[in-house]
């Protein structure tokens, strides 16, 4: 048996293991889920409100990540500032932080006894236990995914093309939409998809910072965890439904790659 053949075998074996690690739990979930009770489950008010809230919260978190993340990514990719390496590391920290710790960190900042909590309290704003808190928690953990993918897209985009556009009379705004946007679009969409998926699955930071109240802060992952206590089968089904929706959304975004 040649060495090359062995190497190839090793490669396939490792890849198969990797695939199995992803697919087997998902398959287990799909097989165990009592699909027949889907309709009944979807008629439960708590489930409906969790679904609605989850889409609202993850959507808002993705939008917020874009609004706050784009300027940051621009700064990192296009502006020369001192300490950029440190800034970049700082911005990706939420990715390695355990989500519960992220929640505690948010409380330490915006909680009633946190750094900014007293000032917020003075103007009548209490963030914990609000839907906004759930949005902030999801944004905190998911924005780095969008920022890193945008930053590398901006680094790869040719500045010279934007200069050419300017020399042809394009305002920075016009050149942004007609020249930069088409070139970063695939990375932007991929980043948005990742960011949204992470926000949709967010659990630890949300329960810690925002709590768990139906209709206000109980997103799907929290509802699933709570259902697991009383109706494990329903929790499985809801988890499987979340999976299906995520796959559909991610696949539709992936399909948006422009033709070469």
């Amino acid at each position: 048996m040649s060495l090359r053949w062995l190497q190839l075998l090793g490669l396939y074996a490792a890849a198969a293991l990797g695939l199995a690690l992803t697919l087997v739990p998902l398959a287990g979930l799909s097989i165990r889920a009592p699909w027949a009770s889907t309709l009944e489950l979807l008629q439960m008010p708590s489930v409906r409100s969790a679904i609605g809230l989850s889409f609202a919260v993850s959507g808002a978190a993705t939008l917020l990540s874009l609004l706050l993340g784009f300027p940051l990514a621009w700064l990192l990719a296009r502006v020369s500032i001192p300490g950029k390496r440190w800034l970049r590391t700082l911005l990706t920290l939420p990715l390695v932080l355990p989500p519960v710790v992220a929640g505690v960190a948010l409380l330490a900042a915006f909680g009633r006894y946190g750094l900014l909590g007293a000032s917020l309290d003075a103007v009548g704003i209490r963030l914990p236990f609000t839907t906004l808190a759930a949005v902030l928690a999801a944004t905190f953990v998911s924005a780095p995914l969008l920022i890193t993918s945008l930053e590398s897209a901006l680094l790869q985009a040719e500045v010279r093309l934007e200069q050419v556009a300017a020399s042809l009379g394009a305002s920075p705004w016009h050149s942004f939409w007609t020249v930069l946007m088409p070139s970063i679009r695939p990375a932007l969409l991929a980043g948005l998809a990742l960011c949204w998926a992470r926000a949709l699955g967010e659990f630890g930071a949300t329960i810690t910072f925002a709590g768990n109240l139906e209709g206000r802060t109980q997103t799907l992952p929290l509802a699933i965890y709570q259902l697991l206590q009383s109706r494990p089968e329903a929790a499985l089904l809801l988890g499987a439904l979340l999976l299906v929706v995520s796959v559909l959304v991610l696949a539709s975004l992936r399909g948006h790659r422009p033709a070469p």
Partner: protein, 262 residues
């Protein structure tokens, strides 16, 4: 410069409190040199501190390591139903234990301790007048309860019914925690005003939280039950641990922590 020290210390306790709510294994240290396999104990979140102490006492007395895993009682039940490997289980609700026995997952059930449901509130600034939880109905307080699916939540609901405050309370709940330790964490960290927990969840000298007993005549007792896991890998060790739990040493530890013992 005492301010930063205090702030740092506070942040550390807050973090510890938040992490204690995690349904993750937080094993007791095995005593060194021991070759015997560890006894795996699943215990309710509200037993966290007291079981660590009992575990350490058992380890030093019997020279056998104990590994502890804490979570909400319902989560523990789910884990057992899904076949998690364990030797002993201790939950905060006799009904959950009975259900596990009925499913033939657990044997030799016994009640080894009780705790009572109380109000917990955030200490106000020094000199401020103490809030009376019974004024809940006319307040704008943020109330945190355990989710009704977990024992502490079910007991709290029973207590509120008895107090005639359930409707007023449910209108003010800002979070239903997935285990009882989440309630104290929300009071410490997130700024909620009031909650309901087991009396044993908060030490009397806690700097941030204070316990207020329910009015006389309303008494809601939680029973803590333990049993032997049917599929235990260490059945002899598990039986020995359960006996230890009923013995004088463990009772002493439980009583000191505020639990009632049979």
């Amino acid at each position: 410069m005492r301010q930063p020290d205090r702030a740092a210390g506070k942040a550390a306790t807050l973090l510890a409190a938040a992490l204690a709510t995690l349904p993750l294994p937080t094993g007791c240290q095995a005593s060194s040199g021991s070759r015997k396999p560890a006894i795996v104990v699943l215990a309710a979140a509200s037993l966290t501190e007291v079981f660590r102490e009992i575990g350490t006492a058992y380890e030093s007395e019997r020279e056998r390591p104990v590994r502890l895993s804490f979570a909400g009682s319902q989560t523990l039940a789910t884990q057992l139903r899904e076949g998690v490997r364990a030797d002993v289980v201790a939950v905060a609700d006799p009904e959950i234990l009975a259900d596990l026995v009925e499913r033939d997952l657990v044997a030799r059930p016994r009640q080894f301790a009780t705790s009572r449901i109380v109000w917990v509130l955030r200490r106000g600034p020094a000199g401020a007048q103490r809030r009376d939880p019974m004024d809940l109905a006319g307040s704008d307080w943020q109330l945190v309860l355990a989710s009704p699916e977990v024992p502490a939540g079910a007991y709290a609901r029973r207590a509120l019914d008895a107090l005639g405050l359930r409707e007023a309370a449910e209108a003010r709940v800002v979070s239903y925690e997935l285990d009882v330790r989440g309630v104290t964490a929300k009071l410490r960290l997130a700024g909620a005003d009031l909650g309901m927990v087991y009396a044993t969840d908060v030490r009397p000298d806690d700097p941030d939280l204070e316990l207020v007993e329910l009015p006389p005549g309303v008494r809601v007792l939680a029973g803590y039950g333990a049993g032997l896991v049917r599929e235990a890998a260490q059945p002899d060790g598990a039986v020995a641990f359960l006996d230890f739990l009923d013995g004088p040493r463990a009772r002493q530890i439980l009583t000191r922590a505020g639990f009632g013992t049979p």
